[in-house]
Symmetry: C6
Subunit: 80 residues, 6 copies
């Protein structure tokens, strides 16, 4: 069953490292959303952790793990 | 002794990245369930951490580690 | 000096992904046991963290790191 | 759609390991900035965590994850 | 300047996965010792965290990261 | 622009695993220093976390991530 046309994650390929970083941010946020689908609760939570340095560093760590996956998926955009 | 027919994890292969992400979420939850098999305690715990931004970020980190494994297992769905 | 016959970790090879996940759980628990060999203290500790969502997520994270090692060791059970 | 000329992340390639480490620091900080774009809040946060040993270690952990990605992207600067 | 004869880490190669796990435990402890060389402080610290489930899980996580390195270094003991 | 002669990180290559571990410790500390360049604040911080078992384990975790990078960069010192 191939990709649903409206899939939020059709591919891991991106043209540039910057787009790869944006995809890593998106994956990190989807990881939170799958656990807490309630948008209001999410927004309230983001306001809270956006002022908490430890939480900001933790969020950056999740992005770093996803970015290493996306970078490998794009062979580190070597042929750039 | 090949896969039991009713195995919850028959393969790491998925058709699409989105299904790969869903499998990573499933693996993360199984990791919690193996430690705390009591469903009620689990549900009570999820209600609790679903309102805690730090816990939500941590849950997203576990998904990120599993997603990197699934993505490598599917060669990053390159031939998509 | 090859494997002691009664080694608790004779190999990283498993027939199926599900067995691979079980081995990852075992490795995570051995990691705790090497630091705290006292069984009673361990059991008391498990009762405690089994009710703590943050600890459950953290335990799932250790399993995720070991699972990525076991999956790579079994070439992601690709020929399944 | 190739790199925007003013992209903040045109490539993962660096001439030297030291530049690779600097890029890993930059990526870690961008991970924080995408979650908290408000510069004042960021500066206030940095003053706070710069005095907190746990947060400093955590920040170093994010840099370590990004550095492993950049090092792999540059084939560990082997031909240095 | 080859290995000092009395090096505590002459090689990453081990005969068996079990020895590989023991080496990962040793590396994790050396990581603590390089930061806190004072043996008494270390022992006092270990007594403390050996009763703290969160710390025990964290210690297991460090072992998991080192184990993935040692397993790769030994090509997952495939020819076992 | 090749390595500055006085670069603190001219290469990831080391002769032995033990030197590789020392480089991983150095990288972990540089990760802290880039965030907190003030030496006194750093020293004060180290005295603090050197008595805190959780922080010591966390510091060991950062070393473990860097060590996996250095080990891969040296092909696990296989030809040792």
């Amino acid at each position: 069953e191939p990709n649903r046309p409206d899939s939020w994650l059709p591919t891991l390929q991106t043209d540039t490292p910057e787009q790869g970083f944006e995809l890593a941010v998106k994956l990190s946020r989807m990881g939170v959303k799958t656990t807490q689908p309630d948008i209001d609760a999410l927004k309230q939570g983001r306001r809270q952790y956006a002022k908490d340095p430890d939480a900001l560093i933790d969020a950056s760590k999740v992005i770093a793990v996803h970015f290493s996956t996306i970078a490998a998926a794009n062979d580190y955009w070597r042929d750039e």
